[in-house]
């Protein structure tokens, strides 16, 4: 099944479903200025990060790669990069310019003060917003999109309703020629044999096993009983007893199609179909990786309730838990609980999710977008020095 959407065709060929002008802070100390600028100029969003100074090695590379991936993202029309000094802003901007979009840099020390930086930036991003607003949406295929599937605040209904319904959506999107990214290998623990059996390429199969083993070994290395951490207290309250049980429910959101590629955190897929990304299980860190890897939209399945969304990419919140659907209606885009009450089959619920996702791709806003529920969290793998 294919669907036409109205999207923004970007210079790199990818399709944007939003037209943000981003004020990207390359490090912690210019976050406040980025937020101030975004508060002044309509049509801009602040992208901030709690680190970025004195990071080294692979850990720093991961931060630069992830921030650049989000700035290069097709939902972003233009970017202003801020940093304490212009050179560190330029270092990040150099990784963004070949996407073909307008990129500018400003440094706090070059401007003089954060007020002077705000003043300089305000005029600059105002021009960017006006230029971006001249771009119009054009006909694109929904199947051109990369969709990330995420779950958070899981309970028993996640594995029975919202994740399988998301999985039906994933199968349909892949069958139409699209790409789905499933992440969080710590939550494959106990279910990795099922994913491995769906992975024809032996190297990819091995990588999935190694990713899972790495997370399991970390739990052992710290001599921790994972219970209470994963499953989390809210998972346990919602009826999930073990990590294995949570994992078997979690992988259902990836659907049932073969795994065609395995990518590292924040890397973009090169193939179409079902892709696995190596991310931590914390939803904000995971979604940041998915978006940096190019996911234009996220479907976020929750059981007990979780309100947060991804930066830049519209995040569609779904739940199959009737209590959550009622208590959290202001945060839920698609209520899947009619499956539990018996008013709807999972296939019918997946049809509704599909229809809403197509509308959202063409500009309908999500609950996360109107409430500003978004958090950028880049994974760290080493200390700042």
């Amino acid at each position: 099944m294919t669907a036409e959407i109205m999207g923004y065709r970007r210079p790199d060929g990818r399709v944007g479903v939003r037209n943000h002008v981003a004020v990207l802070s390359a490090m912690d100390n210019t976050n406040a200025t980025a937020r101030r600028i975004a508060g002044i100029v309509k049509g801009t969003i602040a992208l901030t990060t709690p680190f970025g100074r004195t990071q080294i090695g692979d850990d720093f590379e991961m931060t630069l790669k992830t921030l650049a991936g989000i700035a290069r993202h097709p939902n972003v029309a233009a970017v202003l990069v801020l940093s304490i000094e212009e050179s560190s802003a330029t270092r990040l901007a150099e990784r963004i310019v070949d996407s073909g979009k307008p990129v500018a840099v400003l440094g706090l020390q070059n401007a003089g003060s954060s007020v002077a930086l705000t003043e300089k930036a305000t005029g600059l991003v105002s021009d960017m917003v006006i230029r971006a607003s001249e771009q119009s949406r054009e006909r694109c295929e929904f199947s051109e999109l990369v969709v990330g599937v995420e779950c958070g605040g899981s309970d028993a209904t996640s594995g029975i309703v919202s994740n399988p319904v998301t999985g039906l959506f994933a199968d349909r999107h892949i069958d139409a020629g699209g790409t789905i990214i499933l992440s969080e290998p710590a939550e494959f623990i106990g279910a990795e044999h099922i994913l491995a059996a769906r992975t024809p390429d032996p190297d990819n199969r091995q990588r999935i096993r190694e990713m899972v083993k790495w997370f399991e070994d970390e739990a052992k290395r710290w001599s921790v009983d994972m219970r209470g951490t994963n499953p989390t207290p809210d998972n346990i309250k919602g009826g999930l007893t073990t990590l294995e049980e949570k994992s078997l429910g979690a992988i259902a959101k990836g659907g049932s199609r073969p795994i065609v590629e395995v990518v590292d955190y924040a890397d973009g897929p090169s193939k179409k179909g079902l892709v696995i990304m190596n991310t931590p299980s914390a939803a904000c860190e995971s979604m940041t990786g998915l978006v940096s890897g190019g996911a234009q939209m996220i479907i976020f399945s929750t059981g007990r309730g979780n309100a947060v969304g991804a930066p830049v990419a519209p995040t569609i919140k779904v739940t199959g838990n009737p209590h959550t659907a009622r208590a959290m209606s202001e945060n839920i885009d698609v209520d899947l609980s009619p499956v539990v009450s018996g008013d709807e089959s999972r296939e019918e619920a997946a049809d509704r999710l599909w229809e809403d996702a197509v509308k959202i791709a063409s500009g309908k806003m999500t609950r996360c977008e109107v409430l500003g529920e978004e958090q950028l969290s880049v994974s760290r793998f080493g200390p700042s020095v």
């Binding site: 309970d155 028993a156 209904t157 594995g159 029975i160 994740n163 399988p164 999985g167 710590a186 623990i189 106990g190 279910a191 099922i194 059996a197 769906r198 997370f215 399991e216 739990a219 052992k220 290395r221 710290w222 001599s223 921790v224 009983d225 994972m226 219970r227 994963n230 346990i236 919602g238 009826g239 007893t241 073990t242 990590l243 294995e244 049980e245 078997l248 429910g249 992988i251 259902a252 659907g255 049932s256 059981g303 838990n321 209590h323 009619p338 499956v339 539990v340 009450s341 018996g342 008013d343 709807e344 089959s345």
Partner: protein, 122 residues
Amino acid sequence: MNHTNNESTPGRSPNTGVGPGEGRLARGMSRVLVLDDRDNVATCMAEMKAGDTTEVTAQKERWRISFHDAIPFGHKVSLCDIDAGDGIVKYGEVIGKASRRIKAGEHVHVHNVESIRARGDQ
């Protein structure tokens, strides 16, 4: 005799399917849901009270569950007696092991089940 439609083959998705059965709500889900025929637990899709009874199909047999405990929405009930150390099976997969003997109709959760995987404490 009813059958749940969950033939299992390697490489399939975990069975989150719903078969026909008694106690079934309108067109959709049973109040007490067996997700795979190999399962020895069922998930309560409604709050259950101690003393409630229902019937489900699993392991090619019909099971009459007499609820020993009150069970919250989304939590699991045992279909049969499960010995300490035996696997708890949901979605047709082992999700943990019984940390003590569990009787049929008991609430199955963290007080009587433990994870096998990622146990840094052992």
